[in-house]
């Protein structure tokens, strides 16, 4: 087991930065509200990866517990967000974010 080798912390951080930038790019370039939502999930997930990597680096379990709370918030956010998308689809018959330009339905 000692011969498993080690991975630099920067590898995890770089991967997480790339995933976060791609999530931000997805929010900017896509117009489908559902895919924008998925990109937000991708960004949350990359932040979780940093939490776990630093939890391992500092040998503290608090990072993993924080990931647990982030997952809870993500689940709650998805439930409310998808309900909002369904409600918008009911009134506009589209989930294109370009169509959601008026405040009053």
């Amino acid at each position: 087991m000692e011969n498993l080798g080690t991975i630099p912390l920067s590898g995890y951080l770089a991967l997480s930065a790339i995933l976060f930038a791609m999530g931000a790019l997805g929010v900017l370039i896509r117009r489908n509200a559902l895919i924008i939502f998925m990109s937000v999930e991708l960004m949350l997930n990359s932040a979780n990866l940093v939490f776990v990597a630093f939890s391992r680096y500092y040998k503290l379990l608090s990072g993993q517990i924080f990931v647990f709370f982030v997952m809870t918030v993500a689940a709650a956010e998805v439930a409310v967000g998808l309900a909002l998308i369904v409600a918008i689809f009911k009134s506009k018959h589209s989930i294109d974010v370009d169509q959601m330009s008026s405040l009053k339905g």
Partner: protein, 174 residues
């Protein structure tokens, strides 16, 4: 041979490729499946980091519950494809430029300012598989008991919010 490093590189490529797939796929169902694959690879990365509880929570909560919810809504709305309407011509290059700037800033902070090029050594006793889950549970239910209880209120609020948002208003016909 450093097998863990090879495994990490393969998983990192898989994660980045599935993220690209999420960005470029026209069909929302393909995008959701790419995202589920991405969550799976990140779960394996959590296992490599010695966080088995988080890895399994990732699979059940993200790849399980959240992705099922996404796929359910995509199929319920029949919104898998959007008609290709007018797109602002400068939007895409500008967005790509901004994302590259974000990535550059993050890379600068991580590699130039912090100099975090240290290797993660093999986990100690507190990060062994069973021990880690035990320690995590003890910490969660002693030091973080109040936030854990507040979490239940948060989930209740989200549930009520989802029901209120989607229920029919009085007098409204379906």
């Amino acid at each position: 041979m450093n097998w863990m490093l090879i495994l990490f590189i393969v998983l990192a490529f898989a994660a980045v490729l599935t993220a690209i797939g999420l960005l470029v796929s026209r069909n929302a169902i393909y995008a959701a499946l790419f995202l589920a694959l991405n969550f799976g690879t990140v779960a394996v990365l959590y296992l490599m980091l010695g966080a088995p509880f988080i890895a399994l929570a990732q699979v059940t909560v993200y790849a399980g519950a959240i992705m099922v919810l996404f796929l359910f809504v995509i199929m319920l709305l029949g919104a898998d494809k959007l008609p290709r309407g007018e797109v602002l011509p400068w939007q895409r290059p500008l967005a790509i430029g901004l994302a590259v700037i974000l990535l550059g800033e993050a890379g600068f902070l991580l590699f130039h300012r912090l100099r975090l090029t240290v290797a993660l050594e093999n986990p100690g006793a507190e990060f062994n598989t069973l021990q880690a889950v035990q320690e995590l549970g003890m910490t969660l239910f002693s030091q973080y008991l109040l936030p854990f209880e507040v979490t239940s209120v948060l989930l209740l609020v989200a549930m009520i919010g989802a029901i209120v948002l989607t229920k029919k208003e009085k007098g409204e016909q379906a």
